[in-house]
Structure formats: structure tokens, C-alpha cells
């Protein structure tokens, strides 16, 4: 297909762009890939863009004056412009990292580094008495770095609980976000519950108390239109591999005045101003935060992924996934013995459907599904504390993307019933 022909969303045309979707698994079963929440598949266009870079323009960016280096630098910075525009940002506000996890750690480490970086960075210092607020539904990537920041600095970690129906419990917000709060870090869309959080409202409250707001957008940027100027937050982190892009690249967006006031995290070449044996000054953002030879080919690939998604239209991606989610909530949620963990209504909810099957462990559910070609994820999905809230250690999770079909949702529902028959549970009788 030419992606621009897509109109609403021609799933078959989309699928034709993804070589892996044509393969079979186990005994020749067609692949039903319902694990895009873990990582997405890549269209040919993305793989071609990356390869073209390697075969024609490869050189170390920002480090050479020869023609290849010029071309490579231009490709890298053009990619930054495309990716920035995809989330409504300016290129100078976008830092490339290896994944969302590093992007979040970058901010957490900049905050502890501020303590030993002099007056210019005083605004980021945190210490005893200061509070960092997260939520119980965070992915480990947006929880553990803040625990560690608190351990390094003596600040206190606090968190929003979740309600039994999979929403943030905001009833304590007036107490939880207060003048001691230095930063609120929360997920835009839960990778387990699918819940989309009221980020803008929470950010307003945080800003009223002078706190910064970091949003983990690893599950939102791939699946809905996101515009940083509308969101009203200070930092936004996401990963390329979850949005049709290559592995090995992530993004930290930050308000430019904040990035400028932040000390570096990883240090080395290309992030410096002047270097002496006994001291060093820093380059301006975004270079300040990109030490070493960067992942330019991956940036080019991610830009191609943004182009692909833009051609399809993020509104169309969202609408398609919402339709799949609504269908799945019914097809899966109505099965006897199946409990959905997360909102059962499709409002403010993305396409992650986590569930338990009575008397069958998720590992065993996943195994039987795998046997019929349905690839889902089982476990705590890097959100162990959240699972404790729902009194389970693990769930089975199906996640959707633009290339998934209603027939694949049916395959999932049938697979769950096959599992119940295989294990002979009450629900199967």
C-alpha cells in the first residue's frame, strides 16, 4: 500500500507492510500477535529507512566535517525534527535515549546530580523533606528510578492508590500533592489496565504547588494523538520500539527552560562545552544529554515510523484500537470465569486487556493460547505492585495495535475457552 491511501484504516493494507505478520507459529498456525504493548512489529518502511542510512549515509553524527558525516548529521537532525513534530514539540526539546526507561532515569539522575553541580542547577535539587509522587499503577520503569532517587537524596516517595475498577484514586490529592512535592511522575496510559489518566488535571494541581510533572507516555504516544503543548506537563518519555520504530531508541521531551537548567546524566563525548583534565562545561540541550556516538540509524527508523503513523493518522489508529478494545471487553469479559483487571467500560481506556481466568494460572493460559498461535503476555507486566492491589500475582494481557483485526479478538476469546476446556475448569462445563 501507499500509506497515504489508507483513509480511515485499511487493516489488510497495513498488515501487508509488516513482513512478520505473514509468518506462522507452532504447527503452522497463523500468527495472532497481541503483545504490542510489550513491543510492536515494524513495517518494511521503517526497516528500509534504517538500512538505507547504513548503506548510504553512515558516519558518526556531529563529529565530522566530511560529506558522509554531513549527510548522517542531517539525517539524524531531520529525524529529530520529525519525531518532535509528531508530539507537537520543537526539535531542541527532544533528547534521544536508548528507551523510555533511560529517559525517566535521565531526569531522576539529573535531580540527584543537581546537588553537586553548583548554583546554576539548584532548581533541581531534592533532599530530605521533599516528596516525589508516583502512582500504584506505574510500570517499574516509572517507579524504581524514583525509589532510587529517594534513596540517593533522602526525599520521600508517596503514591496515588488505585480504585477497584482500575482508575487512579484521586480522593487524597489535596494532601498527596502539597508544597513539599517536587515532582509527580505518572503514566499517561497504563500498560496493564489500559486506563488513561487525567494527566492535565493532575499537572495543574502539581504546578500550583511548584512541582514538576513527568509523564510516562510509553503506552500513549504509540496509540493516540499526543501534543505536549496541550498536555500541560514538563517531561514526557516514550520508546521507539512500541510505536513501529526500531529498538534501542527512546525519547525524553522536556520544557526547554527546564532542560537548560538540568545538569547532565551520562557524560562523555559530544555533550561538552570545553574539557580540561580537572573540569568540563556542558553543551546546550539536547546535546548535553546525548553522550557518545548516538543511535542515528534508529532515529531515522523512528522518524519513518512517525511518518507511517502520521500517514495512517493517529486519530484513525486510536479509533481502530478503541473499536477493538470495546469488542474485546465484551468478547473476553463476558466469558464465564474471566475477570478483567482494569476498567470494563471503554471510556478513557486504551487497548490493554488484562484478565484472570478462574482456576487457571496465567502461564497456563498463555501456553494454550500460544499453542493456537495467539501471542499474549503473562506475568506482572513490570507492574508488580499494581498486581498486588488486585490480589493476584499475574494476569494474562492482550494488547492491540493498528494491525490487529476483529478476527484476532475472536481467536483470543476462542483460545481462552479452549484453555478452560483443556484444564477442565468449572467455567468450561
Amino acid at each position: 500500500m501507499t500509506t497515504s491511501e489508507l483513509g480511515r484504516l485499511d487493516v489488510e493494507a497495513v498488515r501487508a507492510d509488516f513482513p512478520i505478520l505473514a509468518r506462522t507459529v507452532r504447527d503452522g498456525r497463523p500468527l495472532v500477535y497481541l503483545d504490542s504493548g510489550a513491543t510492536s512489529q515494524k513495517p518494511r518502511q521503517v526497516l528500509d529507512a534504517e538500512r538505507d542510512f547504513y548503506e548510504r549515509h553512515n558516519a558518526a553524527v556531529h563529529r565530522g566535517a566530511h560529506q558522509l558525516a554531513e549527510e548522517a548529521t542531517d539525517a539524524y537532525e531531520s529525524a529529530r525534527a520529525t519525531i518532535s513534530a509528531f508530539v507537537g514539540a520543537q526539535p531542541g526539546e527532544v533528547v534521544f535515549t536508548k528507551n523510555a526507561t533511560e529517559a525517566i532515569n535521565l531526569v531522576a539522575y539529573a535531580m540527584s546530580n543537581a546537588a553537586t553541580s553548583g548554583e546554576a542547577y539548584a532548581r533541581f535539587v531534592v533532599g530530605p523533606g521533599d516528596e516525589i509522587v508516583v502512582t500504584e499503577m506505574e510500570h517499574h520503569a516509572n517507579l524504581v528510578p524514583w525509589q532510587q532517587l529517594c534513596q540517593r537524596t533522602g526525599a520521600t516517595l508517596r503514591w496515588f492508590p488505585v480504585t477497584s475498577d482500575g482508575r487512579l484514586d484521586l480522593s487524597g490529592i489535596d494532601e498527596l500533592i502539597n508544597d513539599n512535592t517536587k515532582l509527580v511522575a505518572l503514566t499517561h496510559q497504563s500498560n496493564v489496565l489500559g486506563t488513561v489518566n487525567p494527566v492535565t488535571a493532575i499537572a495543574e494541581r502539581a504546578h500550583a504547588h511548584g512541582a514538576l510533572v513527568l509523564v510516562d507516555a510509553a503506552q500513549s504516544v504509540p496509540h493516540m494523538p499526543v501534543d505536549v503543548t496541550e498536555l500541560g506537563v514538563d517531561f514526557l518519555a516514550f520508546s521507539g520500539h512500541k510505536m513501529l520504530g526500531p529498538n534501542g531508541i527512546g525519547v525524553l521531551w522536556g520544557r526547554p527552560e527546564l532542560l537548560a537548567a538540568m545538569p547532565p546524566f551520562i557524560s562523555g563525548g559530544s555533550m561538552i562545552g570545553v574539557v580540561y583534565m580537572d573540569h568540563t562545561t556542558w553543551a546546550d540541550p539536547p546535546q548535553r544529554f546525548e553522550a557518545g556516538v548516538p543511535m542515528a540509524p534508529q532515529a531515522v527508523g523512528l522518524a519513518a515510523a512517525c511518518d507511517y503513523l502520521s500517514a495512517v493518522g493517529m486519530e484513525n489508529v486510536l479509533a481502530h484500537e478503541q473499536a477493538l478494545t470495546q469488542y474485546a471487553l465484551k468478547q473476553v469479559g463476558d466469558l464465564p470465569g474471566v475477570r478483567i483487571v482494569g476498567p470494563t467500560d471503554p471510556v478513557d481506556r486504551g487497548g490493554a486487556i488484562s484478565f484472570t481466568v478462574e482456576d487457571i494460572h496465567p502461564h497456563d493460559v498463555g501456553q494454550v493460547l500460544d499453542d493456537v498461535g495467539v501471542e499474549v503476555r503473562v506475568g506482572h507486566h513490570c507492574a508488580w505492585p499494581l498486581h498486588r492491589c488486585y490480589e493476584t500475582v499475574a494476569t494474562t494481557r492482550a494488547t492491540f495495535y493498528l494491525y490487529n483485526t476483529f478476527a484476532e479478538v475472536d481467536a483470543l476469546a476462542e483460545g481462552i475457552q479452549a484453555t478452560q476446556r483443556f484444564f477442565g475448569t468449572a467455567a468450561a462445563r
Partner: protein, 161 residues
């Protein structure tokens, strides 16, 4: 259906009707293991007794008891149950031999030819070795038993010194 190669009847039987489940006294070693990818847990208790009364806990020591408590999938549950059947009453040497054989079987990628004399019911897990993500499930109780046993030996040494 490939599934049957993993979910052998023996495994499903042990899963539905586990043997020796529930923590028992007395014990002289205990270990708690968690599988960090899925949160499955097992606690294993062992009681080792010297081959000769009043003697040291050597290779010939008897595995007088193994009991456990656990939470997890069919494979991890069944494996813990089979483990107790195999180990209770064996010598430490025999137990370690079983552990080695079982570990080797799990890493055989479906190519293992387990010694049925040594592994008995545990040969049923051969099919699991074709599914790398499940190997940890099958090994969870065994690894906990190994640690619990190391603790028994440690405790004894401290007692002796």
C-alpha cells in the same frame, strides 16, 4: 496438539492433587524463591538426618523430609510435588544426582533422554524443555530445595563448630 507434550497426564495429576504440600516441622533448612518474571513463589523446607546417628551430614545423609508451600502455574506446582516424592527418603548424594539430571533435562531443548531410573515421574517434564520460558517454572522448587539443603548443611556446621 503440541500441548500434550508439555502437559503430560502425570503433570496434570500432580498439579490437581499435589503431594506433601504444606510446610512441616521439624526442618533444618528453608528457602524461599520467587520467579521475578511472573511472581510465582515457593518455600521449601528440608530435614536432613545423618546416615549414622550423631554423625555428620555428609553425602550419605538422609533427606528425611521435604515439604513446601507455593503459588504458581501447573508446571511449578507439579514440579514441587514430584520433587518431594523423589527426594524424601533418598540420600543427599542421590538427591543431588536427581537435581543434576533434572537440570540437564530442562536445558536439553526437547532433545534430552532422561534416565527414568533416576528421575522417575520427573521424566514427564521432558516436554517442558522445549519451552524456554517455562523452564524456570519447572526448576523453581528444585532451586529452592538446593538452597534449603545448603542451609541445612550450614546450620549443622555451625552447630558442630
Amino acid at each position: 496438539m503440541q500441548l500434550d507434550s508439555m502437559y503430560q497426564e502425570i503433570i496434570l495429576d500432580h498439579y490437581r492433587n499435589p503431594h506433601n504440600k504444606g510446610l512441616r516441622e521439624p526442618h533444618n533448612g528453608e528457602a524461599h524463591h520467587i520467579n521475578p518474571t511472573c511472581g510465582d513463589e515457593v518455600t521449601v523446607r528440608v530435614r536432613l538426618t545423618p546416615a549414622v546417628e550423631g554423625g555428620a551430614l555428609d553425602d550419605k545423609a538422609t533427606i528425611a523430609d521435604v515439604s513446601y508451600d507455593s503459588m504458581g502455574c501447573s508446571i511449578s506446582q507439579a514440579s514441587a510435588s514430584v520433587l518431594t516424592d523423589l527426594l524424601i527418603g533418598s540420600t543427599l548424594e542421590e538427591g543431588m544426582r536427581m537435581l543434576d539430571e533434572f537440570t540437564e533435562l530442562m536445558h536439553s531443548k526437547g532433545q534430552g533422554e532422561p534416565d527414568e531410573d533416576v528421575l522417575q515421574d520427573a521424566v514427564a517434564f521432558a516436554g517442558v524443555s522445549k519451552y524456554p520460558a517455562r523452564i524456570k517454572c519447572a526448576l523453581l522448587a528444585w532451586m529452592a530445595w538446593k538452597d534449603a539443603t545448603a542451609q541445612s548443611l550450614e546450620t549443622e556446621k555451625e552447630g558442630a563448630s
